[in-house]
């Protein structure tokens, strides 16, 4: 069906755009810029700032017939209204004649800039926005150059108002455009900031405790058209024009948000180049122009003084720095000697090139290469993952989304945002989660589910789908919704599931998608909410989690090689296996709990220090570029691996990431078409950001470094192996609860903790229990309890939450209590010592 279009003339240029297009956007599409402040192409128009005033002429119509009236020459008579109109709130009309730069329009625009400047402090020389400031740009274009306003009559307002620990407000610079408050309300449903007072006293305040409590707060500083909102870590640190930019991919979660890393030599760090700020890079199909606060602020680990800077070797139980030659030689000798007794464990944080090289090396020596991430199902994702051309932004009315065993808001915030927006557009959301999450509000159907039950519920859903009319209640109506959907995207996670459980869940989801016919096409398929950014890449390369549990797999190993993986951090008991192994080498950024058990520790480069490719949960392969020099003597993982390989006699083409990627393309199904060049391809996207359009779209960066390529699903004859897994009865005994590890965005991981500014937002050492269980077990909110499981004992604070399902206790990962998979644990209050 052809879209209805409207043709009009803007500043002498004929423009044809879809009906309903706003005048300001129509002009922008043909390169005519109408200045704006409050308007933002991702937000609903409000017409507050009045900057976009233009003259609109409409064809005169006969009152009776409604026909357009013409003059003697047959041309339509155009009538201009007496007032200028805001082009950001006005949808285009057929035959209009619009003057955006006539004397009258220009005068109106100049007048607005003059008014805005009367209350502006004009402190550009010390303002962080200076150099990339829409107000500064438009002052250059429309400002009078001379003030008619007496400087002494300016209102003096607070200039350093913390809206929270992350964002500061300068009340003098604020021009009350409401971009920030509208973003928080419309886009991310966190209306924690808003206006207070009125008139010239109108000001932004935060309503939440802690202040500006939102996972997306940093985005407001990008879209703020002045220097009113700044981030706690970048303010007063550097000028935008001093910064060097390099494109990158966020290392924190499987969304794979496109980033621009801004770096500069830092005088107070001995002139080292450090990351000054992380900015979103435009990719409409991945993150649009948004990123979460973890992606934006948790980068300070890259410059942490605790980073490993040189190889270390254990001599007489003491760690000593050694040369790379010595370290490589030692490792090469040991792994070669181990032969088929070598076990390699790599984490999903490493790049495709790292993981490919790692697998080559370990398997080349006869050993076994494993994936350190415990969640299963990556093989099913290869089969039924979302098809190329998928863009969650396209989902809306008539489409459906199923989210199972995942808390997207905590695990992959930008996916949460995009699912939420799909719901805003009318998509049906079905949730299968044991507890309430931030998605529940948008869900049409919530299917109740116990921990561990998700795979069987999805199977029932799948059966109900296959035979219409079967099933009952919610399940039946959900099956109907999913079957009828034009597009269906299924997100699955691992909350409450051991690895075999998430593997079974992926299989159930895959079956459902096949049953409903939502596979092998755009906006249809399975998206795994992986624990790491490149877990999917690891699966694609052929790495799999340990078949049995990791401890028994490691038992009896003659050498263990761990890359970007910290299993002891998750489960301290694994230290026993490492202690027992004759040789352990760990390659990482930090001296992790695992590294402490090693014989040799190799310093790896952080994501920003090297190049590489990463595969998102949507199976989009993306390129990340180098933006930082190496920390100390750290080397990229792939290089370390290949250097060990060369010495151990397992040689593969590893001259560079590019040649490694060529090998990946040659040997891994569906990566065949990809090259570093194809991953760098881009085309201009709407809305235009940055460049000349600072004031139109904000300061996020345009994407000139590659949109990435989404992989085709694999069509295999032999399906992934079935796993035998059934949801055991986990009814807790007296004094017991099912301890369920949960992911929280701001965890205590080694790549998060070094960012001091996040300190107050990080997960504390606590468990969450339901009020009923708390009273059954005698636990009190804020008091301490003792957890006993597998013979180990942990003291922990208790937090009582209504949303926790009865019989379970939520345990945030990374807080220092073993949390690999759900386990029954005895939980008791800590009693005051009795006097004897």
């Amino acid at each position: 069906m052809a879209e209805k279009t409207v043709t009009l003339t803007i500043q002498g240029m004929e423009v044809t755009v879809p009906a309903g297009t706003l005048l300001v956007d129509a002009a922008k599409q043909v390169g005519i810029y109408i200045p704006v402040f409050c308007y933002h192409p991702k937000l609903e128009p409000v017409g507050m700032c009045r900057m976009c005033l233009v003259e609109i002429g409409r064809p005169k119509k006969d009152r009776q017939s409604g026909e357009v009236m013409t003059d003697e020459s047959g041309e339509p008579i155009i009538e201009f209204g007496p007032k200028l109109e805001t082009s950001c709130t006005t949808p285009v009309g057929e035959g209009w004649v619009v003057r955006t730069s006539s004397e009258k329009a220009l005068q109106g625009q100049k007048q607005i800039v003059e008014y805005l400047l009367t209350s502006h402090p004009l402190d550009c020389p010390v303002c962080d926005k200076g150099g990339e400031c829409p107000l500064q740009e438009l002052t250059m274009d429309f400002g009078s150059g001379k003030s008619r306003f007496l400087y002494d009559e300016k209102m003096l307002l607070a200039k350093h108002v913390p809206l929270g620990d992350l964002i500061f407000l300068d009340r003098e610079r604020c021009i009350q455009c409401a971009r920030c408050t509208r973003f928080q309300e419309e886009i991310v449903d966190d209306p924690v900031i808003g206006f207070e007072q009125r008139g010239r006293s109108l000001q932004i305040v935060t309503y939440s405790d802690p202040g500006f409590n939102s996972y997306f707060s940093g985005n407001t500083t990008d879209i703020c058209p002045v220097g009113a909102l700044t981030t706690a870590d970048f303010r007063f640190e550097a000028r935008p024009w001093e910064l060097r930019q390099a494109a990158s991919i966020c290392p924190h979660c499987p969304v794979g948000c496109n980033l621009m890393v801004n770096t500069r030599r830092q005088p107070d760090q001995e002139g080292r180049v450090t990351i000054q700020r992380i900015m979103p890079r435009h990719n409409e199909a991945v993150n649009e122009i948004w990123i979460c606060d973890k992606g934006r602020f948790a980068h300070h680990f890259t410059s942490s003084p605790r980073r490993l800077k040189s190889p270390k070797i254990r001599r007489d139980k003491e760690w000593v720095d050694c040369t790379w030659e010595e370290a490589l030689e030692t490792v090469a000798r040991a792994v070669k000697k181990a032969g088929d007794g070598l076990i390699g464990v790599a984490g999903g944080r490493a790049s495709n090139e790292d993981l490919f090289a790692f697998k080559k090396l370990v398997e080349g020596l006869g050993g076994e290469a494993l994936l350190g991430d415990s969640m299963g199902g990556g093989d099913w994702v290869q089969e039924v993952g979302v098809g190329p051309g998928t863009n969650l932004r396209d989902l809306g009315q008539g489409d459906a989304i199923l989210v199972v065993a995942s808390d997207l808001h905590e695990e992959a915030p930008v996916w949460w945002l995009r699912v939420k927006q799909a719901c805003d557009r009318g998509a049906d959301l079905v949730l299968v989660n044991p507890r309430e999450t931030r998605l529940d509000k948008f869900a049409g159907i919530r299917i109740s589910c116990e921990y561990g039950e998700a795979p069987s519920i999805v199977s029932s859903l799948s059966e109900a789908l296959a035979s219409p009319g079967s099933g009952s209640g919610n399940l039946k109506s959900a099956a109907k919704k999913l079957a009828a959907a034009e597009h269906l995207v299924v997100f699955y996670g691992q909350e409450g599931l051991p690895p075999a459980g998430s593997q079974a869940l992926a299989e159930a989801c895959a079956t459902l998608l096949v049953n409903s016919g939502h596979v092998q096409s755009p906006n249809n398929g399975l998206i795994p909410v992986w624990p790491h950014n490149n877990t999917q890449g690891a699966w694609d390369i052929g790495l799999r989690p340990a078949g049995k549990d990791l401890a028994s797999t490691l038992d009896g190993a003659r050498a263990i090689y761990l890359m970007a993986s910290d299993p002891v951090g998750d489960d301290p008991k694994l230290a026993e296996q490492l202690k027992a192994a004759p040789f352990v080498v760990v390659q990482d950024l930090f001296m992790t709990e695992t590294a402490r058990e090693a014989d040799v520790v190799l310093p790896a480069q952080a994501f920003a220090e090297r190049e590489g490719t990463y595969t998102t949960g949507e199976r989009r392969v993306q390129r990340s570029y180098m933006s930082l020099p190496a920390m100390g003597d750290a080397r990229p993982d792939w290089l370390i691996v290949s250097q060990i390989g060369r010495q151990a006699g397992v040689s593969f083409d590893a001259g560079s990431v590019v040649s490694l990627f060529a090998e990946i393309a040659a040997s891994i199904l569906t990566y065949g078409e990809l090259t570093y060049q194809s991953l760098a391809e881009f085309k201009s996207e709407w809305p235009p950001v940055r460049g000349d359009d600072l004031y139109f779209g904000g300061t996020s960066f345009a994407n000139h470094q590659g949109l990435g390529v989404q992989l085709d699903p694999i069509q295999r004859v032999d399906k992934p192996p079935k796993v035998a897994w059934s949801h055991a009865d986990t009814a807790p005994a007296d004094q017991e609860l099912l301890l369920v590890p949960v992911d929280r965005l701001l965890d205590r991981g080694t790549t998060v903790v070094p960012s001091d500014m996040l300190a107050s937002r990080l997960q504390t050492r606590h468990i969450e229990v339901s009020p009923k269980d708390a009273s059954r077990l005698g636990l009190q909110d804020g008091a301490e309890a003792v957890i006993e499981m597998n013979g180990s004992v942990h003291k922990i604070e208790v937090v009582i939450r209504d949303s926790v399902p009865e019989g379970s206790a939520l345990l945030p990962r990374s807080i220092g209590v073993p949390a690999v998979e759900p386990k029954l644990a005895k939980i008791q209050p800590v009693r005051e010592k009795q006097t004897e």
Binding site: P45, K83, Q111, Y115, M155, Q176, R198, G199, L202
Partner: protein, 416 residues
Amino acid sequence: MAEHIVLRHRDIPDIDQLEVYLKHGGFETFTDVVKNKSPQEIIDVVKASGLRGRGGAGFPTGLKWSFLGKAKPRYVAVNADESEPGTFKDREIMERNPFQFLEGVAICCYAAEANHAYIYMRGEFWDNATRIEEHIQQLYDRGFLGKGLFGSDVDLDFHVHLGAGAYICGEESALLESLEGKLGMPRLRPPFPTVNGLFSAPTVINNVETLTNVPLIVAQGSDWYRSFGTEKSPGTKVFCLSGNIARPGNYELPLGTPFRELIFEHGGGIPDGKQLKAILPAGASAPILMATDEVLDTKMDYESVPNVGSQLGSASVIIIDDSVDISWVEYKISNFFKHESCGKCTPCREGTYWMLQILERIHEGTATPDDIDLLDSVAQGVQGKCLCALGEFASGAVVAGVERFRSDFDLKVASR
């Protein structure tokens, strides 16, 4: 005028008692309407009467009702914010003739097919609000409000909501925002409230005085109503007379009554032997008029006042005698608008502040002659660029003041 339509309490003592109101035919019209009339019939009669909105804009009431969107639910919001300086008519109506007002609201709800009416009163009316709530309770008790009225399937509930004291909340879309619990700021239009109003539902918003006319219009017909006033501005209007006048107060007179009659016959002229200098025909929001013979002979209706360069507005006529310096009046008016600007749009937020700064300097005698031109230029710059009418009022006041009373400003600057 011998009889009143809106200020009927001046003819009938104790009409603020429900029994008295009922004895004089109160709620017979509403009862008849619910039992025997269709909503369209009510809209038609109000349309035919030519009744125009008494809040200031003078928009034809029946026409507004006929624009209502088809969606349900629908709401009626009563603008009882009465925040225009010098306006005190709605207060007298609600205090002294409350049941006629409430019957008007009820009829409006029926015509609009709304089950809920929200009476939005300014915060300062808290005492009156309490009384209105008591009156509403009496209506529930007597079966004029509630479920299934008079055995029909019509449900009707009234709610009183107090604002927090903001001029802008008298602007209808800001009123809706405030009712929804948000900061009182005007909305963009379109969509208009009749299509997308309170809680996004089709909403009729009318002024207290407007609705108080309705019971009599429906009872006595449009021809009767049109026997008052002018052809385009039928009916009576309550003129709020204040300022330098012998007998200030509310005067309900036919629309089209000349200024001269209001000021000198009803208001008793200018006291203390002073001369009439200027007239603010609609509080702070309409341009100030020089009291010329042409102006004094101008009819006070919606068409005639614009001919001499102002507006009838809410007809809060403020009289200014020759002892008053108009630059001081403009200073006060600017102060008011600066204080009341909601801050949503740039020209109003910044312009009202800037104008006040200049006027303050003029008032204090520290301004230069150039400042008068600057003031005029700043005010002109605000004109035609604002999101709602407040900024236009604020700047229009200054533009007219400087244009029509320039010598008062010159004097302040010269006296430096």
